[in-house]
């Protein structure tokens, strides 16, 4: 298994598929503690990414992620647009023009993505945002890569599982950032939509490699 540009394109394609399939669920999550648009935003954004990919086949994984960043930035809007835009942009920068991604590279990219989200949104862990999916994911990837393994799939799986667990762990939290924070205590008992979509994105990365 190599993580090359074909993997990246498959990943983004699976992301678009996941957003379309989970559009209603993400809207429902956002309806409970936000403004009912997260699923629509993500679906619109990744459909636009698909269109861009059809127009110009990128040459490296980094180029694919950069194209994704610019597209999400210009099509998603809301909080998620700039945050995911920054995440993909930073990941792209971390990957540079490498044709293939090794485990260390991959972990670096996920850490960069997380750092980008934190830099933009100023949220901390436990604020009930997408950071609560990305931080454990980045850390799990780092840990998995630290073994010196050449198993990129293992790194991806570790990240995806940690992201999923992180998203689930937002359920009981009281939001301190984003729209859900307006609800105060009433935000507890609901999953954060951005954390949920983040877990979907990382799960798609596994799917693309499997």
């Amino acid at each position: 298994m190599v993580l090359d540009v074909n993997w990246a394109v498959r990943w983004l394609t699976l992301c678009a598929q996941a957003m379309a399939e989970n559009r209603v669920w993400l809207i429902e999550l956002d309806r409970a503690i936000g403004d009912s648009d997260h699923g629509e935003n993500m679906d619109r954004g990744f459909q636009a990414v698909l269109e861009k990919l059809a127009e110009a086949q990128p040459e490296t994984p980094g180029a694919a992620l950069k194209l994704t960043a610019m597209t999400l930035m210009s099509k998603v809007g809301g909080a998620a647009g700039p945050l995911y835009g920054t995440a993909f942009l930073r990941a792209s920068t971390a990957l540079g023009d490498a044709a293939e991604i090794d485990p260390g590279h991959l972990a670096d990219a996920l850490v960069a993505a997380r750092d980008g989200i934190v830099a933009r949104g100023k949220a901390e862990s436990g604020d009930k945002t997408m950071v609560d999916a990305w931080t454990p994911a980045a850390e799990a990837a780092q840990a998995a890569a630290a073994d010196g393994t050449d198993n990129v799939l293992g790194v991806l799986v570790a990240a995806a599982e940690a992201a999923e667990a992180g998203a689930v762990a937002t359920d009981p939290l009281v939001a301190r950032k984003g729209r859900a924070s307006y609800l105060g205590e009433r935000s507890a008992g609901h999953r954060d939509p951005g954390a949920a979509s983040s877990a979907l994105i990382l799960r798609a990365a596994v799917g693309a490699a499997a």
């Binding site: 809207i27 309806r31 503690i33 936000g34 403004d35 009912s36 648009d37 629509e40 935003n41 619109r44 930035m73 210009s74 099509k75 998603v76 809007g77 809301g78 909080a79 998620a80 647009g81 700039p82 945050l83 933009r120 949104g121 009281v174 301190r176 950032k177 984003g178 729209r179 924070s181 307006y182 609800l183 105060g184 009433r186």
Partner: protein, 333 residues
């Protein structure tokens, strides 16, 4: 969901197109990327004023584009802030060289997208100031929230900063006036019913037949708490008390009282709320010098209202009274 729409995904496109047709003498609509500019933009020597945000709050913001108010409005998808690739060209289109003020409601999405656009505009040599509107007393501005939301006060900031720009104030002066309005206005809202976002298809929150949501924003998001339905005077007091005390209004002061409908409440009911609010303010020894009653910053078809109080001084009053000619607010011209 029953709406006068063709397709949930074309709501904003078609609505803005219709708006452009109906007000062709007043505005120019650019379709892609989408923004609305004053017909005569850029106005030579004048500071440009740009605002924007999610759609679904009409007439905000496009309805406030025109002489004495905004130079451009940037509509996002319903309840979703616009993107930098809309905000940037709108900003460039209204820059006459005197710089541009972004009026941004304090929501994470709006802030981040306008921030990016401002950076890009600065990089293209346009001087940008940002006025952040955060007048909603329902939200505590603390470490535990994203800060107070920009709600009803936005309309007043846009009108008054727009008048300052129109009279020829400098970039910093216009931004300072905008900040001054924001510091002197507070708002609180109530929902009697939820609204339905077209692409979502079901109401934005659940509310029983005998419940209301106190402290709502303008994005169909739930408020701070539900309470059993009360009469209009009781509801008015619940909204007005925190507004007045947070603003620290004392006897002898002059205010502008703004009773805003959320879109689905009859005007007659807004006047019942206005009546009580004006009585209470008068009883406290302050004077309602100016007023505004109607649907100006809405949440689709939501039933409910918000009450805003703005502390007036002579200059703000003068700027409020200055001529304005937009689709939704017009006087003196």
């Amino acid at each position: 969901m029953k709406k006068l729409i063709n397709d949930p995904r074309s709501v904003v496109d078609e609505s803005v197109e219709g708006f452009g047709l109906a007000h062709a003498g007043l505005v120019t609509v650019t379709a892609d990327p989408k923004y609305v500019t004053r017909k005569d933009a850029p106005v030579a020597g004048k500071v440009g004023l740009v605002s924007g945000g999610g759609s679904g709050h009409e007439p905000l913001h496009a309805g406030f584009v025109g002489l004495g108010m905004l130079d451009a409005a940037v509509p996002g998808a319903v309840f979703t802030s616009p993107t930098p690739d809309q905000i940037l060209p709108a900003t460039l289109a209204v820059n006459s060289g005197a710089g541009v003020v972004h009026i941004v409601k304090n929501y994470t999405g709006d802030v981040l997208n306008f921030e990016t656009a401002a950076e890009l505009a600065q990089a293209e040599g346009v001087d940008i100031r940002t006025v952040l509107v955060n007048d909603d007393v329902a939200v505590e501005d603390s470490l535990y929230t994203a800060g107070r939301r920009g709600v009803g006060g936005t309309v007043l900031v846009e009108k008054i900063a727009g008048a300052a720009a129109e009279r020829g104030d400098s970039l910093d002066a216009v931004a300072a006036i905008g900040d001054r309005v924001n510091s002197n206005v507070r708002t609180m809202g109530v929902a009697l019913t939820a609204c339905t976002v077209p692409h979502a298809g079901s109401p934005s929150f659940d509310l029983a037949d005998d419940e209301i949501e106190i402290g709502i924003g303008i994005h169909g998001e739930p408020g701070r708490h539900k309470i059993p339905m009360e009469n209009a005077d009781g509801i008015t007091d619940r909204l007005l008390d925190p507004v007045l005390s947070d603003l620290g209004i004392s006897g002898g002061e002059k205010v502008l009282l703004f009773v805003n409908g959320m879109g689905g409440t009859p005007l007659s009911e807004l006047y019942i709320v206005y009546r009580r609010a004006a009585q209470v303010i008068t009883e406290r020894g302050a004077a309602v010098e100016r007023s505004l009653v109607g649907n100006y910053i809405t949440s689709l078809e939501m039933q409910g209202c918000s009450i805003s109080v703005l502390r007036l001084d002579d200059e703000l009053t003068q700027l409020w009274d200055a001529p304005v000619h937009t689709a939704a607010l017009r006087w003196g011209v």
